[in-house]
Symmetry: C2
Subunit: 426 residues, 2 copies
């Protein structure tokens, strides 16, 4: 029997009872003959509480010290999980990111994992212990400073551990039953996907499905780690994220769905640079300024210039949280670039249709746009990849757009499948 | 200008305002030209909160995981102090016990410091930073496990850092103005001591004065680190714990007081083993059993045996928290030793008179006992060292005994000197 890596998030570790439940689940896997390595997030509201403390002493705390502070959260949860396991008669050893050999770069607050050297973990496994590892954190290669991995960090920790330990599977426990064809809060008849490819999951994550973080899926794909997304509140099978779902389920190749799901995202804003002189290098200057300000753009659209004026408009979307920074950076180069004005719109939403099957099926785009038109939804921007079509719509039209698309592609289940767990303390 | 090491306890770090006040105090020392290294405890009630969490998941948590949990407390406070310093325009680096090179043995929950290898601290000092170190914690030499130092651990961390860094002084900040001739809550006219010898401070600490922990004073004496005990709530000079107070204050040798103070302790219990056969080896067997149970005894008294019976009684005091363990250990050897019965009394208190001057002044004992008699206090047990006389009295007689002794030795100040700070949040 091989190694099973599990990840439990904050909502699965909300209080003492939740921790005991997680401990029982871990022990069950150990009893079944597997070695178990568990990555944990901070308990429920711990991170928010720590952020409040930081804000109480400094409006702009140094990133190094912020990482030092926040990493206390997983330290608390991991030792409590180890204690709860010990109370069930099994031995557990908790390790910080640093002790677990999670080596990162030096970018505090959003460090990237460079390597995992799990010597202490394999030794503890060899001694028969269950291993609990603090998620979301590591130690920098050069400076030996404590770092955090940013959003979705514990998912990434879990997959990185699974890769380093050559685990059979990485189980990501969350408060929903798996990956759905759409957000069940918007589409009650959304279906749980039994399997989804890394490629589709990457697009889903990038397009606003919050269930798995992009970096975690990227890590899983690179090392070929099967990821099982499931609920810590039930015993149901969840969604397997694997290399090629069709090949994995032998004899079912015909059944690979064309569309994996409909994702949506209300966290972006749109900026339009109006009246950009249509000559070589102007667009480059604009995107250079945005890159210098460390802003990640998403969709970019440039219309053909009106022949009469030789001026063009450039629109792009970006995280709303970067909106002010981007506007400031662009204002600074107005004279240099000679554009007319800037428009800022944060009342937008993005709706994306994702499916590896659309590669070989023509007509997907027209069906998608037809569904939106029937629902009375106006399309603001369009962007496509080989397995994805995204549109920007009015923020208030997102729900209608998601529902219309979901129905148009026959994704609705016969009955409501989604259950929302853990509703009490969270 | 040399290095100043400071220690701030939990009551000095109760909330954001307290942390900002501590930061200003630290920055003031840095501005005066000193390098500053600060050891901090966990904030106010953090440790209790963490203990509650542990009790919530396991009635008997493994010591290793308990240390992992509790060390989160100083991690939080040290990063917050560093942030508050940064907010004042100075740079600070916080380090865990492990990062700071606090090397200990492997006894979780009460590890002893073996060595301090402060490479990262000296490097940070060299780069101009103020250094904040997590008190109370270290890393074990052999197993590289996180350990805690037990009660008074942060004081010990501070003095150990001062020794390793060859600091000019170790300032222990607390919520009283210094070391007093008696507990000001019992004796309002108690006087603050300007200076006290390591030797006297050791006896004071051992006899119940809670202001400095025994191990901290021992460490200071061994390495000759001047310890300045003072309040974080005022700018007053506190009490200097030094090698030879008389020699230190030149020209004032004649003024060295005979008595440093009166200490009391209500944390002990008394066990009497009644009817022990008065022959070789019986007492040894009793104390062997107690040592095997890891119990530290304080006072031990054996009366001469009644000639008629050849039986003797052995009484000793010990921490009340060890009472049950000791009784169990002794009950187990009753048949072997052949004693009659065990008596347990936890309604006792210990009052101690301490002063290096009593070495050369006869008549101290009779004056002490005379004061107790005048106050109507009955003496249960007596124990003495070269610079201390301790008596066990009824728990309810402790206050009267302390006051009577304090007055008899002319220790009362003309006016009330003691101020109790930080009364709000604590």
């Amino acid at each position: 029997m091989g190694i099973v890596v599990q990840k439990y998030g904050g909502s699965s570790l909300a209080d003492a009872d939740a921790i005991k439940r997680v401990a029982r689940r871990i022990v069950d896997v150990k009893k079944s003959g597997h070695d178990v390595v568990v990555a944990v997030s901070a308990m429920g509201d711990t991170t928010d509480d720590l952020l409040d403390l930081a804000n109480g002493v400094s409006p702009l705390p140094p990133a190094r010290e912020m990482d030092m502070l926040l990493t206390a959260g997983e330290r608390i949860s991991m030792s409590l999980v180890a204690m709860a396991i010990s109370d069930l008669g099994f031995t557990a050893r908790s390790f910080t990111g640093s002790q677990a050999g999670v080596i990162t770069d030096s970018v505090h607050g959003k460090a990237k994992i460079i390597d995992v050297t799990p010597g202490r973990i394999t030794q503890a496994i060899g001694e028969g212990h269950i291993v609990i590892v603090a998620g979301f954190q590591g130690v920098s290669q050069d400076t030996k400073e404590i770092t955090t991995l940013g959003r979705g960090g514990t998912d990434t920790t879990a997959v990185a551990l699974a890769a380093a330990l050559e685990a059979d599977v990485c189980e990501i426990y969350t408060d929903v039953d798996g990956v759905f064809t759409a957000d069940p809060r918007i589409v009650p008849t959304a279906r749980k996907l039994d399997q989804v490819s890394y490629e589709e999951m990457l697009e889903l994550a990038a397009c606003g499905a919050k269930i798995l973080h992009l970096r975690c899926v990227e890590y899983g794909r690179r090392y070929g780690i099967p990821i099982h997304v499931r609920s810590s509140f039930s015993q149901l099978h969840g969604t397997w994220v694997v290399n090629d779902p069709a090949a994995a389920s032998e004899g079912e190749t015909m059944e690979q769905p064309i569309i994996a799901g409909v994702a949506h995202d209300r966290s972006e804003a749109k900026i339009t640079v109006v009246g950009v002189p249509d000559k070589v290098g102007e667009a480059a200057r604009i995107f250079e300024a945005l890159a210098d300000a460390q802003i990640n753009l998403d969709m970019i659209v440039q219309n053909v210039s009106a022949a009469a004026t030789s001026l063009t408009d450039i629109s792009f979307t970006l995280p709303r949280t970067d909106g002010q920074t981007a506007m400031t950076a662009l204002a600074r180069i107005q004279a240099e670039v000679g554009y007319d004005k800037l428009l800022y719109d944060d009342k937008i939403g993005k709706v994306s249709l994702i499916g590896a099957g659309m590669r070989s099926h023509p007509g997907i785009t027209s069906k998608f746009f037809g569904a939106l038109a029937s629902a009375g939804v106006n399309i603001g921007m369009i962007s496509t990849s080989e397995i994805r079509i995204s549109v920007v719509v009015d923020e208030n039209a997102v729900d209608d757009a998601v529902r219309a698309t979901h129905t148009a592609f026959d994704l609705d289940a016969d009955e409501v499948e989604a259950v929302v767990y853990g509703g009490t303390g969270r």
